[in-house]
């Protein structure tokens, strides 16, 4: 486990984070009093029932959403005052997203899709794209449109795209949900490999088999996050 005292090893800190959606039939408390810390080099697996708030938590971790209440610190800085452009830049440079389902732009080929974050950053590095295509084993399909590829290939392309700007942290929202077990295993193996080379990973998954894929396990229940011992069973 990483050292809790040295603040520079802390990647993300959430303090008393609440997320409330005001609805007609009363407010929905998607997150309640979340206090968590992600250290650099962590591999956090998040599990919980459907609707418990996992995706919401990931959106807040990924600066896609401001929480209704509470503080989000990225590498020690409070994100509250950050404007749209700063957040966008941070998302582009530091964070990699693997979204819940099909998150490819339908009219671009896999390769073009993977290139998008680099285009946004304004620097194209062809060799890194080639490397990622090889790493995720979609070299053959690189000129195919997303709807001409299998679900596994698409999901790996999403992973490749998340990695193209060499992010420090990778946020994965059920990347295995729509995959068969072979493809799902392959995906988790890729993530493990990335963890080994030092990328911080947050993986949301329903699949109990992957509860111990990382070095930490969080359980989300009705918007509350509890850290579980990796040895113990999930409640």
């Amino acid at each position: 486990m990483s050292c809790m005292n040295c603040s520079d090893s802390k990647m993300i800190v959430l303090e008393h984070v609440y997320q409330v959606y005001p609805m007609k039939d009363g407010p929905v408390h998607a997150l309640q009093d979340v206090n968590v810390t992600i250290e650099k080099g962590d591999f956090v697996v998040i599990q919980g029932q459907s609707g418990s708030g996992k995706t919401t938590l990931l959106h807040i971790l990924g600066l896609l959403k401001n929480p209704s209440e509470g503080t989000v610190r990225y590498e020690g800085q409070d994100c509250k005052g950050w404007d749209e452009t700063t957040c966008a830049k941070y998302r582009n440079q530091t964070i990699g997203f693997v979204m819940q389902q099909d998150a490819l732009i339908p009219y671009l080929t896999l390769e073009e899709n993977i290139r998008v974050p680099q285009m946004i950053a304004g620097k194209i590095k062809e060799e890194s794209i080639g490397k990622l295509l090889r790493f995720t084993q979609i070299e053959k399909q690189k000129n195919h449109l997303p709807n001409e590829c299998s679900g596994g290939q698409r999901q790996r392309a999403v992973l490749a795209r998340a990695l193209v700007n060499t992010p420090q942290i990778l946020l994965c929202d059920e990347p295995t949900a729509s995959l068969d077990s072979a493809n799902a295993n392959r995906m988790v193996q890729l993530l493990r490999g990335l963890h080994r080379i030092g990328i911080t990973i947050v993986l949301v998954t329903h699949d109990k088999r992957y509860a111990k894929a990382g070095n930490r396990l969080w359980y989300v229940h009705h918007g509350r996050v509890t850290e579980c011992d990796i040895g113990s069973d999930i409640p």
Partner: protein, 350 residues
């Protein structure tokens, strides 16, 4: 930049069906406006040319009440028609068959002679003010068209004293070319209005007098009005075309919204999104305008074989219309894009 354009091309390839409809809408409205413009200007030029052929010295006079004029012509012999008498209806006037010319001097040229009446020569003598106001003092040997007959100005009267009611200087003397050789006096009761009076109070004909130049100016004005109207109509139709196109391209909300969500998640800022869509909309508009111009040129090439007056492609109008279309398109498109690009990434991907 190369890559952003690449995205535009990729998008066009992928969504060619709805885009085709949108582009067709713009092309059709553009071509319609352009062709109507060509037709209107063609007709305008045609008319102008044929009027210029006649020369600018013409003056047109037409009685508002043509039947009276015709009657007058037929019965000219029974009337003593002049501008300088006190007008009172007298029965016996009908029987006066005396030829009587106004006793006026001419400044230049000559007065109407009896032979003019006898032989029905198309000559006339005009008053001072007619000469000044209608012909800018250059009236001699110009022509006046009275209800279709062209009279040559052979003389210009000296100034005469008039009364409140009549101004002899506003008079055109035409020989009574008809049966009895009576002089017909046409009195112009103002700058443009020509009053032809038949005494007896029976006929009081209002005539219109207009010079060739004025006629052309009037027509030019009319054509300008038509063209201005056309510009408004064209703007409306171009806007309709553009709305159709935007409808097809931008308001494919479901597919585009998700894409925007993805792009925002990847860290594409609002500015970059706007830039990307700017390229995209520009490409569509340019494509549509290019096709529109091509269609216009082909149509004109064919049209000019049938009616040559359509004339060559009006590049100036084409450029103005094209720029207008492009400007409005970009404006509308970017407004729509601005709206979408402000949405939050999570909302977009929902």
């Amino acid at each position: 930049m190369r890559y952003w354009l690449g995205h535009t091309v990729a998008y066009i390839r992928y969504r060619i069906r709805p885009i085709r409809l949108g582009i067709a809408a713009v092309v059709i409205s553009y071509v319609c406006v352009m062709m109507v413009h060509q037709i209107v200007t063609g007709i305008h030029q045609q008319i102008s040319a044929s009027m210029l052929d006649m020369g600018l010295d013409h003056v047109w006079i037409s009685a508002t009440y043509a039947p009276e004029w015709e009657y007058l012509k037929e019965h000219a012999g029974y009337f003593r028609i002049s501008a300088s008498e006190s007008w009172e209806y007298k029965d016996d006037i009908y029987t006066v068959v005396k030829s009587e010319y106004p006793e006026v001097m001419t400044d230049s040229g000559r007065m109407i002679r009896e032979t003019d009446s006898t032989y029905g020569l198309p000559v006339c003598v005009i008053g001072q003010k007619v000469n000044q106001n209608v012909f800018q003092n250059q009236g001699l040997h110009k022509t006046i068209n009275v209800n279709g007959t062209v009279y040559e100005v052979v003389g210009i009267c000296s100034p005469q004293a008039g009364s409140l009611l009549e101004d002899p200087d506003y008079t055109v003397y035409v020989p009574g070319l008809f049966v009895y050789g009576q002089p017909v006096t046409i009195e112009i009761g103002g700058r443009e209005e020509l009053r032809l009076q038949a005494y007896a109070g029976l006929w009081n004909l209002d005539c219109q007098m207009i010079s060739q130049k004025e006629l052309m100016d009037t027509m030019d004005g009319l054509m300008k009005t038509i063209e201005n109207g056309l510009v408004i109509v064209s703007l409306v139709s171009v806007v309709i075309g553009l709305v159709a196109m935007m409808q097809c391209i931008l308001y494919e909300w479901e597919s585009r919204k998700k894409e925007i969500g993805i792009r925002k998640t990847m860290g594409q800022s609002q500015m970059q999104l706007m830039k990307q869509f700017f390229f995209e909309i520009s490409a569509f508009l340019m494509g549509a305008l290019g096709i529109g111009n091509l269609v216009c040129m082909v149509l004109l090439a064919i049209g000019n074989r049938m009616c040559s007056w359509l004339g060559p492609f009006d590049f100036v109008f084409g450029i103005v219309l094209g720029l207008g279309t492009y400007g409005i398109g970009i404006l509308m498109g970017m407004c729509a894009v601005y709206g979408i690009s402000r949405l939050d990434a999570v909302e977009c991907m929902r």
